[in-house]
Symmetry: D2
Subunit: 292 residues, 4 copies
Amino acid sequence: MAIVLGPNSYGKAEIRLVHVTRDGGRHDISDLTVGVTLTGEMTAAHLTGNNAAVLTTDTQKNTVFAFAAQHGVGEIESFALLLARHFVDSQASIATARVSVAEHAWDRIASTGHSFARRGSEIRTAEISYDGTTAWAVSGLGGLTVLNSAGSEFHGYLKDRYTTLVETTDRILATDVTARWRHTALPLDGGCDWGTSHAEARRHLLEAFAETRSLSLQQTLYAMGSRVLENRPEIAEVRLALPNKHHFTVDLAPFGLKNPNEVLYASDRPYGLIEGTVIRDDAPPAGLAWAA
Amino acid sequence: MAIVLGPNSYGKAEIRLVHVTRDGGRHDISDLTVGVTLTGEMTAAHLTGNNAAVLTTDTQKNTVFAFAAQHGVGEIESFALLLARHFVDSQASIATARVSVAEHAWDRIASTGHSFARRGSEIRTAEISYDGTTAWAVSGLGGLTVLNSAGSEFHGYLKDRYTTLVETTDRILATDVTARWRHTALPLDGGCDWGTSHAEARRHLLEAFAETRSLSLQQTLYAMGSRVLENRPEIAEVRLALPNKHHFTVDLAPFGLKNPNEVLYASDRPYGLIEGTVIRDDAPPAGLAWAA
Amino acid sequence: MAIVLGPNSYGKAEIRLVHVTRDGGRHDISDLTVGVTLTGEMTAAHLTGNNAAVLTTDTQKNTVFAFAAQHGVGEIESFALLLARHFVDSQASIATARVSVAEHAWDRIASTGHSFARRGSEIRTAEISYDGTTAWAVSGLGGLTVLNSAGSEFHGYLKDRYTTLVETTDRILATDVTARWRHTALPLDGGCDWGTSHAEARRHLLEAFAETRSLSLQQTLYAMGSRVLENRPEIAEVRLALPNKHHFTVDLAPFGLKNPNEVLYASDRPYGLIEGTVIRDDAPPAGLAWAA
Amino acid sequence: MAIVLGPNSYGKAEIRLVHVTRDGGRHDISDLTVGVTLTGEMTAAHLTGNNAAVLTTDTQKNTVFAFAAQHGVGEIESFALLLARHFVDSQASIATARVSVAEHAWDRIASTGHSFARRGSEIRTAEISYDGTTAWAVSGLGGLTVLNSAGSEFHGYLKDRYTTLVETTDRILATDVTARWRHTALPLDGGCDWGTSHAEARRHLLEAFAETRSLSLQQTLYAMGSRVLENRPEIAEVRLALPNKHHFTVDLAPFGLKNPNEVLYASDRPYGLIEGTVIRDDAPPAGLAWAA
């Protein structure tokens, strides 16, 4: 028996980059949180503290800022790919790179060309993985909270000794959507129209959530994922994590009042958590796309 | 020398109420976080545990839900006033009530009449105080993050032994606006158009932030507050808390790159904090408006 | 009618300072979050952006670090006082200073003299205010969560139409203690033994919480505050904010099980919030002690 | 090409359970956050909303509370195993169950047998997975923040165009330890002394962190993991996630002051993130241990 080093990685997390592009008096801003994760032959660093193979996380951070200056930011998938390729292609000791970006959206305040208000808590995400030969692209979103006040039922489920839940044909359905979708192929020249692809995937997720008469959150999840795949050939797989944000109907009978699902309290914890994948049966191998 | 009870209060905090209004297939939702704070003669409860004067916080919570069923929610100032008056007017042992509401906005998802997406982190707020005779209304907003990528300078400040900051005529100015404004008078019949008043105050805050060529965040603060007062006669006083969310220009010289304020890192802590009041010199007494 | 500047202040918030003291191989660390708030004649900065009276928040931050190097940290009340006096005494344009410190405690890991584990979420706090002549000291603590699983009752309260709460002679009582206590006098030479004073005040708060047979959280609050005043003559006033962290007895009857207050669910929101002051009737004037 | 359902799961997250055990006047409390994740043949629920195979997340929550009443809590690994086996063994439609528990520690307040103060932010964790035949046990901890103020170096790393970091033989090393360790075998009768195993693993992690002269955080990580494996034969694999919580030496030279690593500012973001596995080369297959 021996003790050995297993899978390992290192990187810089939560690099907060804001990039301003000036076109005369009209500015654009990109507001990103970037993470870098690298792997390679790191046994010496772990066993003896020999750091000869280590590209420091401080250098990774500097590289993110320097690349923003040299190349701009543009679509986050393209920016992440540029960085991932740089790390692997420039250093023999780096085998794989994964660059994750969350973009925080801002709206213009109309009166000037340089004033902005942050849109909210929703983020657009990209995760690019690269192994020196192949790159994988996962786009996504997070922090998108949605609610249907009609069109949701829940019944016909298993009952056991511990079941008290009452079946319903009319409940509130609310969730915080975290969605990630894997692209079928990633053109290394960055030729894909990432922005349109993201906007359309987001639109289909929202519309499927709204338009599905839901018998369970699982059914809604599948409807959301399959709607994206039906409409976006560039996407091979959709992964969704949907917390069931419970809104309970308040019992107002003690006060002589009726409550036809109008007065609800929004509960924090516990919550249901429904996770699932919708995928094309001919999807290419996922490779490193979903790593960690 | 004796030990005595000083100022005290009690209440229920963070009551999460969602109210659905149905007009056929078209629904509206109000999503509120409500807090109640009551005062009165509570010496017995503190000294001997005699609770005869205590309206329990559980009852306060029930009342919030029951009032939503009986009266709807509508404008949050009106809903808060209704509750504040109820608590004081219905119980001899309650001297003052303060009801605070934060409203979380939702946008419609177009495809149905019952589907919504939460707008983001900005909240609209109302705080109503009532003492049995007079009511005071403070409206406001929070979680509104804004940024100017031009039009901001900072120079001419004091220098001492510990000053290293370099003067600048071009910096990023960003802040999370927390604003609260006191209304000149609160008609107890709720006759004020709270929604329009809020929307206009918010618009003036945003426009003043954007349009002010800023020599300091203090100057921007004053411009925001005075712009509201100049345009909204129903508002007597504006209080602003503006964290200076520092965006530092990254030094790219070591990489042979220029950085004309294009690549910035957004720092979390520490941050500047500028707080100030802008007020009419003939504003009526504030009474309990700002209590706590 | 004119629009004028009202009360205002500025400063640096959340300066994260870690100070290491080396005594040979045995180290000590102080881990602080420091905030500075200054006031003075700031009309020009607000109205015209003339910053001649402004000691920048960046300089304030530098001063905190430089003072730690020059004077060490020691007791946080002493460190805060040193800073507060410096700001007011060194600049004519600064009328008052308030320095707030939260100290995060660390325990030693025994095997070396330089290894530490952070103790937890409890913080020790100090807030020193100074106006050029007088200084006020408020010490305190936050993040101290306590629970009694016996010895707590709640009954005899007001009932109205909206009351459903059932009276009980046996409930769980839990709260997150935020306590702040004002010292009777602050010797400007820092001669008070702040450490002992804090440890003893904390001990009395904890023991009073545990030993009080509670008929209401208000009664427990008063017992905690008065216990401190009875035992610590250097303390003039205690302010407590005690959220009632509800632990509800789960209804297990549907499963044929009894639940004599053994299985509880801990609810996040809403929560009760009990706030109160216990004070000596001959306490000196509070002055700026509680400002803001 | 067809669109199909891929991997999926569902469950209840963040069930907050507090359990009180009474032995006369002396009480013990267990404070847990429990999560349940189930898998099975769920195609119908996703494609048609047929819920016949769904054990609702509400029932899962009820079961957690009812099991605490019937069996007590005891060691969290045993409690989680009991639940995981119940879900799979009692319902044909459930193929695997994963029960995750985080335990929040409390210390006694000495003066009574029923009074407690929460210890802090560190949690003890257990994750039990079960597939109807085999169970896997992962124990761990989170929220343990540690710091060495001596004994840490960092040099000899790769330099490229973007490297500015200065090599050092004396730096602060601080991290928030998240550690999870897989047990070699899980006796289904719960016979293992989980409490001792956890306390000893924790002690070895802390001591290895303190006693390792660190040339990189990777080296410290490996030392921590291997120390556990060397001393605890019941543990087969240790996974560690160690954020490098940077403490930067403040430049005091502009003020004519020296700073021999005594005055530091603790930075929030970005941070390094070092993740790695230390494993026995004859470890049994991990099966579902690390799922999700």
